[in-house]
Symmetry: C2
Subunit: 352 residues, 2 copies
Amino acid sequence: MEHGADLLTYEDEFDGELIDFSSNINPLGTPKGLDKVLIKSFKDLVAYPDIQYRNLKDSIADYLGAKKENILVGNGAVEIIDNFVMAANSVTLMLPAFSEYEKRAVVHKKPIHKLYYKDDLTISMDAFNNLEEGTLLALGNPNNPSGLRIPKNQLMKIYEKVKEENAYLLLDEAFFEFCPEDYDSIEIFKQYDFESVGIIRAATKFFSLPGIRLGYGCGSEKKVEAIEKIQLPWSVNSLADAAGQYVLEDKKYIEDSKVYIEGERNFLLEGLEKIEGIKVYPTATNFILIKLINWEEEYVFNFFLKRGILIRKCSSFKELKGDHIRVAIKSRENNIKLLNIFKELEGEGEKR
Amino acid sequence: MEHGADLLTYEDEFDGELIDFSSNINPLGTPKGLDKVLIKSFKDLVAYPDIQYRNLKDSIADYLGAKKENILVGNGAVEIIDNFVMAANSVTLMLPAFSEYEKRAVVHKKPIHKLYYKDDLTISMDAFNNLEEGTLLALGNPNNPSGLRIPKNQLMKIYEKVKEENAYLLLDEAFFEFCPEDYDSIEIFKQYDFESVGIIRAATKFFSLPGIRLGYGCGSEKKVEAIEKIQLPWSVNSLADAAGQYVLEDKKYIEDSKVYIEGERNFLLEGLEKIEGIKVYPTATNFILIKLINWEEEYVFNFFLKRGILIRKCSSFKELKGDHIRVAIKSRENNIKLLNIFKELEGEGEKR
């Protein structure tokens, strides 16, 4: 399973509805009132979306506290990642990471340089010692699958390093809103007019809208122009356009979600810490990476599947060596179910 | 104006609602009942679309009379065009043509070979005498902006030529359903297992859904696999996925639309033939290319705009030398309005 959430493939294996812990979506569901907004937009389907996405960009600019000229929109974060990769000379990854950075680099035949997180999946500045001149350095912030949020002082050091090498820093912040309010990279980098830095976010995870395909990002005016020159026309559909304008203004949903996720993150982490035979990585976001000490990944995956829960095997992240799983943070009810199955697994004892 | 239908840009120039003749969309609007289908699909927005689009591909295969293994889906026809271009060594165009063939070739740094339609915008087989080995030959069928449907015997000759040169024929048939029922390229080429040929269609034009972004296509199993390897994941959103499954089954809408367009095409062509100072190209589809003899393009564009009608200037098609416009075929009421403004223009006499 290359990506999470290929539910259809696994539906037959369990008699009932699977609970999807493989896909890191806000458990509060979509913001209220979205249905009405979408229904009102049905009339727009007979026309092309605004090819310049003027209203959508206004909303995003407001939401991010950035200028409209610095805003990009795309068919999910992945289209924007793809466009940045296309515009790059080479791509530098830090692994383990979201598979699409490397995949898009391969598709576009870009040279790939691989850096690695430390064993504990944090960052050592030494990793950047041989950064290639002019490369696109793509970093998840927080990173997927580890959940690591780059500490602010480290981020600034990385940015300095990137500028020294005339490189470009691409921060994939698709999970930004789930994080504790430590710093906002957009607030920081807008003071530098986004020179040598691009930041990608999305409605996908936080607004629980993976089906609608809406990503957005910030870059310098010059970079935004360059990306839009290579981007496909009308890549965001009319309903995603309307949805974006609506959900970004729902301050109550945004606040409620942050509080909810923080509560459930603490609840789930606390519960998981008590389970023997696993190692839980610290996380700043709405998913948790777990190292399996006492069991094989496949065994654990099937153990949960048989009990109606789909978790994310991490063997597609080669650096994790087939002994890691990732679980999303969901509703209290489902989180309890997850913890109970972990307890059941713990009771089985080591199986290798 | 690179593409049609940038309504927002022109809205201020006319006090009232513009009638958009620049965008070639089925005037019957979207199939009935689509609203309900979309509303039912809102619940799917909290999950990723099926990454393999299994149900959608089943519907398309049924509709096209092809095998599921030969089906591609995309974020509008333009994403599929882009993917074919990416997979090509070089791109051969026949001009004038839809601008995106060339634009995507430029974006992906593919060598471009330019062939030309004859002065009357029909095809001479001589044009293919120096077809480069292994090139992707992209042809609109019917072509945009001319409305030319490639005659069947000529299409077969082109296909032979393409196979001789180990090239690849990409037929952009986004306007297929508007054509008189002469032949169906999918029926023809499925007998050859789509060897060296790809055919692209879309819900955009015929099902009046440019806002939803849904294109699809056919190719050999091998080609489909190759394209899907380079395609962005989840590029069709959940609502487009559901809409596609629904509209392709609406046989009554499909039949009614064909009859309606044929009637209005005849009505509009007959009316336009009587206007002096223009030359009307024959068309197989739902738009008409017009050469201006007595006026400049810009003058005519503004003449219509002031009267509430947006037409398509064709100066972005360089081969048309700034003296062509394109109009869509719309409802009887609007077609009459268009003809009346043409009569008014005719009354003004030559202005150059």
